[in-house]
Subunit: 167 residues, 2 copies
């Protein structure tokens, strides 16, 4: 037997970290009001998990496309499709200060765009956040951002995830 | 907290079952000669895991396409692209009786085709198998097949996997 860390191993690490981090986030915001925000629908896995963790909360979903089965497609008035740089500022007018938890799994975005997204996505999320809201991301999108207090996210021994308490 | 089993939960179950089942299969065939055969490259995750488990064995890979990063692309002479009903019979002429372990994860194939594949894929794999070879699949492709002895595959409490010793 060998200790090579395969693509299968890494995918398991990534998904288990997501599950642990999302469960932790659910605990952090328990008993507080506010929406959940999912930046990136992707295959709909973490959106579906957020639905299972937060049945009483509305979930706003942003992505370029919704390439998911019908059962994983958010309601039309909660699904905002297009470039984040257009959809986030537009939706911020409607949902300013209304979000309790924002989750941004951007690691699966085009590698070329990643550094770019990492720099500006935090600024586009911030207007949505209620006082003391939680932001969770696979990338350090809150690093160096004023008023974003970095938190220790559990379950990140094998895959990176980052959390911030904002404001 | 709720007990809903989300899409994220199910994907974790699937990948962990694959990892446990592949590790078990590696133990079953340890010390015996023969090739490994991967029916379906998909995203290359289990192929990469097979590479990590079987560094001394050649791995024959069959799929319609190879939509994977270069690092996960098999060598050209081990990669057989096209409809399984064409590529398997053609390759069986070259590799008759040479395979020790065949892995067929066909659950991600088009749902419409699944019942079809389940019926005929076992017959197309069989000519490749060495005496006493192992077949592992997420679907019961060996059910009712003469000379295929069903085995108990460990790690299948949350996701189905099936194994057979053939001949």
């Amino acid at each position: 037997m060998t200790t090579v860390h395969s693509t299968l191993d890494r995918m398991i690490d990534r998904l288990i970290t997501q599950r642990v981090a999302l469960g932790w986030a659910a605990g952090c915001v328990a008993g507080t009001p506010g929406l959940v925000m999912e930046i990136g629908l992707g295959k709909g896995r973490t959106y579906d998990h957020l639905r299972s963790l937060f049945p009483p909360r509305d979930i706003l979903v942003f992505d370029m496309w919704a390439r998911v089965p019908t059962a994983l497609r958010p309601d039309e008035d909660r699904l905002l499709l297009g470039d984040f740089r257009d959809t986030l500022p537009a939706a911020a007018e409607l949902f300013r200060g209304a979000v309790r938890l924002a989750h941004a799994d951007i690691g699966s975005a085009q590698e070329d765009d990643e550094d770019g997204i990492r720099q500006w996505i935090g600024g586009l999320i911030e207007p949505f956040l209620a006082q003391g809201a939680l932001v969770l991301s696979d990338r350090p999108i809150g690093a160096g951002r004023h008023g974003w207090e970095a938190l220790d996210v559990p379950g990140t021994e094998r895959w990176a995830y980052h959390g911030w308490r904002v404001g």
